[in-house]
Structures are given as C-alpha cells and as structure tokens.
C-alpha cells in the first residue's frame, strides 16, 4: 500500500490545482473594480418605430417581453387559429408593424434580417426562429393595435393567469 502513497500525493496536489485554477482566474477578473458588462448589452438592434404608450415601450414591460414574448405569441397563435380570436395586443403582425424599420431608401427591411430586431438577440442566444418562413416580415397595412385593444380586456389579462395552451389543457381541438 505504502508504495502508492507518493503517487496519490502527487495526484491530490494536481487535483486541487485544477479545482482552484478557475477561482483564481475569476478573482483576477474581479480586481478590475467596475462591474463587468454582460456580452448581451453590447448587442445593438434597431429601436422600434413607436411606443405602445407614452409610458410603456412595448405591449408589456420590456423586461417581461424579453423573457416571455414567446409565450404570448404562442398563446395568441392557437387562439387566433382555432377560435378566431383576433385581438391585436400579442399579434405577430403588430410585432412586425412596430419592430420593422426602414432603410436609407425608405423601404422596410425584413424584421428577421441579420441585424434586425429579432435576429440580433436570437443569433446571440443561438435560437432559430421559424416564424418568418410563413409570416410576413414587413408591415403591409397600418397598425390597429391602439384602436382595437390598447386597453386591457378581460381576455388579455386572463392570458397571464390562465392555462397557457387551452387546446392541450382540457377541451381538445375546437370543433
């Protein structure tokens, strides 16, 4: 047994070095003093053309949209498709209406273009979006967001608390 001890010691030292190395590296980084910026914050993307209201940039607070926009769109998608509910607040068309911007020639750039609103974050996050294989990428008709559903209806508030996908939950596909 004793003949293995030196070898074990060397192994233990190596192991502890390996474990401590990353901590040492981060400790060095922290010495900089300033709060380091996340790589995400260096991303730049076109500002939306207009705000939802004077106080609110998007149809929901921006932080919430960053985290949950896909849920809102998915929910809206099923309700519109299967139940004919056509509220505008979480309509993908309204996303495009607001977030597609014009180039120097005054023509709309597809919203899924490489430097555009959707792609700038999605390429950073390595998330591929399929929306625009089928859906329009440029505004075609004027927005009706404010005329139809700028106020919170019972429907729009229910979306937050209710089941995410009513089709899968209880009723089955609408008949």
């Amino acid at each position: 047994m004793s003949q293995f001890l030196p070898a074990l010691r060397v192994f233990a030292v190596l192991l502890s070095l390996l474990l401590l190395l990353p901590q040492a590296a981060t400790a060095d980084d922290d010495d900089g003093g300033d709060k380091e910026t996340l790589p995400f914050s260096e991303l730049s993307f076109p500002e939306p053309e207009r705000r939802f209201s004077a106080t609110q940039k998007c149809v929901r607070p921006v932080a919430e949209m960053r985290r949950n926009h896909m849920t809102y769109i998915l929910h809206q998608r099923d309700e519109t498709m299967h139940e004919g509910i056509r509220t505008r607040q979480y309509s993908l068309e309204e996303c495009v209406n607001c977030h597609a911007v014009k180039n120097d020639e005054g023509e709309y750039v597809p919203v899924n273009g490489p430097d555009q609103f959707c792609a700038s974050c999605h390429s950073y996050a390595s998330v591929n979006i399929d929306c625009f294989q089928c859906h329009a990428t440029k505004p075609v008709r004027p927005s009706t967001l404010h005329t139809q559903s700028s106020t919170e209806t019972e429907h729009t508030t229910r979306e937050l608390s209710g089941t995410i996908n009513p089709l899968l939950a209880s009723e089955g596909p609408a008949q």
Binding site: R77, E83, G84, R86, T87, Q133, A136, K138
Partner: protein, 252 residues
C-alpha cells in the same frame, strides 16, 4: 332565483345587442344596409357552433371563361405567382375553375371548386397531428404550426382541394401566412369572415354583377343563403359521400 334572473339578463342583453346592431346598420344611410351585419363578434370572443358558414354556387350564373373568383383569391391570399419552380400540378390552388361537359348533349359549363368545408371532413379524420381541423363555425383549416406536411389530407380529400407548398416563399400576406412544407387550402377567407366581411371570391363575383356566389350563415333562417337554399334545389358535389358540405351548387 339567481338562475332565472340570469336568463332574463341574457335575454335582455341579447335583445339590446340586436337592437343596437339594427340601429347601427340602419344609421349608415336610409335604404343602405351592409350585407352581413346582424351580430358583429368582438375580436376577443371565440367562434361558436351557433353559426355555420357556407357558400352557394349558382353555376348557371358562372360566365364562360370567367376566372375572377380565382384571381380575387390569389390577390387576397397571396398565392398563384409565388412558386415559379413548381409544375402546374404542384402549384397552390386554393380555388380552381373546372370545365364540365355533357357528352351526350355537348353542353359545357365552368364552375369553381374549392375546399367544400365538410361537416365531417375526411382531411380531419386522417390528419396524424391535428393540424387539419374544423373550426366551430364550420370552416375547415390547416394549422400550419403543427402541420408536418405528410399530405394524407390531400389524398383523403375527394375534391382535390388541398395543395402542398414545395418552395420557399417570400412576401406573404400578414393575414394569410403560408410556407414551404405545409398543406393549404381555401380558408373561406377566415380573416375577412372574422371581421364580418365576405370572402374575396364572393366579393369579386358580385362586383362583376355575376352574383353566382352567395355567402352566409347556413343556420340563420333569415340569411340570404338560407333563403336561396330553401327556395330552390341545390346539390353537394359527391353528395353520396354524406359529408354535408358547406359549399353547395346549383345547375350541375
């Protein structure tokens, strides 16, 4: 007590809604009424089975060589010129005109054929993912979000109403998303119907003064289509299949 008062409330509300709709329609101008006014469904309310949308095609009024319903559909829904590489059999055809001829008499006519919006649609029966479905108000649709492009529905449809997109598409209409790898067919212009407008083909046909197409609620006894169906004979194409189609024909 509460139940009966609730019922009374609902009855009162319905009466008020209807009265409001009627005054609204009448107020537009004396003698001018919108064709489909009766009850505008709010944007946040789901469709119900209290309505069933249908179209009556009077082929006697179809002008020979007229293609206006097809071009109107192409324009509205953005198909027709979107697949340059596909051959004519592969290209999208939401609605097409078919020439029929009586061999013994030589009498020929043209009629439009599209999704017949069956009450018991074979395309829905065979769909493995639930993408092919019938909406509560009778409109048969493809949910392209869950369509896997297997094309079983195309084989099941007795009317050859569906088509498959073989190419990458660009510049689709926001109200009619379509894309490669999914099956599509006539939607009865669901985006218009949901906003109390009539389908593009019906609109184009009446704009030409042919009036061969009548759109309306089959369950509403007072709708133009129900009155027309009650007054004169009409048939379903392949009525022997017992699919109870929403599209009915006269003169074939």
């Amino acid at each position: 007590m509460s139940e009966s008062s609730n019922l009374a409330d609902i009855a009162r509300r319905n009466f008020l809604t209807r009265a409001g709709a009627v005054t609204g329609a009448a107020a537009i101008a004396p003698g001018v009424f919108l064709s489909v006014t009766a009850s505008a469904r709010p944007a946040d309310e789901a469709v119900t089975a209290r309505k069933r949308w249908g179209i009556l095609v009077d082929t006697n009024k179809c002008a020979s060589g007229c293609n206006d319903c097809v071009t109107a559909c192409e324009e509205e829904n953005g198909w027709g010129h979107s697949e340059p590489e596909s051959n004519p059999e592969q290209k999208a055809h939401w609605i097409r005109t078919v020439d029929i001829r009586n061999k013994s008499t030589g009498f020929a006519k043209t009629l439009p054929i599209m999704c017949q919006h069956c009450e018991t649609p074979p395309c829905v029966d065979v769909c493995p993912t639930g993408a092919s479905f019938r909406r509560a108000d009778g409109i048969v649709l493809v949910d392209k979000h869950i369509c896997i492009g297997c094309r079983y529905c195309m084989m099941a449809c007795p009317y050859k109403a569906r088509s498959f997109v073989h190419e990458d598409l660009h510049d689709q209409k926001p109200w009619a998303p379509r894309g490669k790898g999914t099956v599509e067919s006539c939607t009865m212009c669901v985006q218009r119907v949901d906003k109390d407008r009539i389908p593009a083909c019906v609109e184009a046909c009446s704009a030409d003064n042919h009036n061969a197409l009548i759109f309306g609620d089959l369950y509403d006894e007072n709708s133009e289509i129900s009155k027309a169906l009650k007054a004169q004979d009409s048939v379903e194409i392949r009525g022997d299949l017992g699919l109870n189609t929403g599209i009915r024909y006269r003169g074939i």
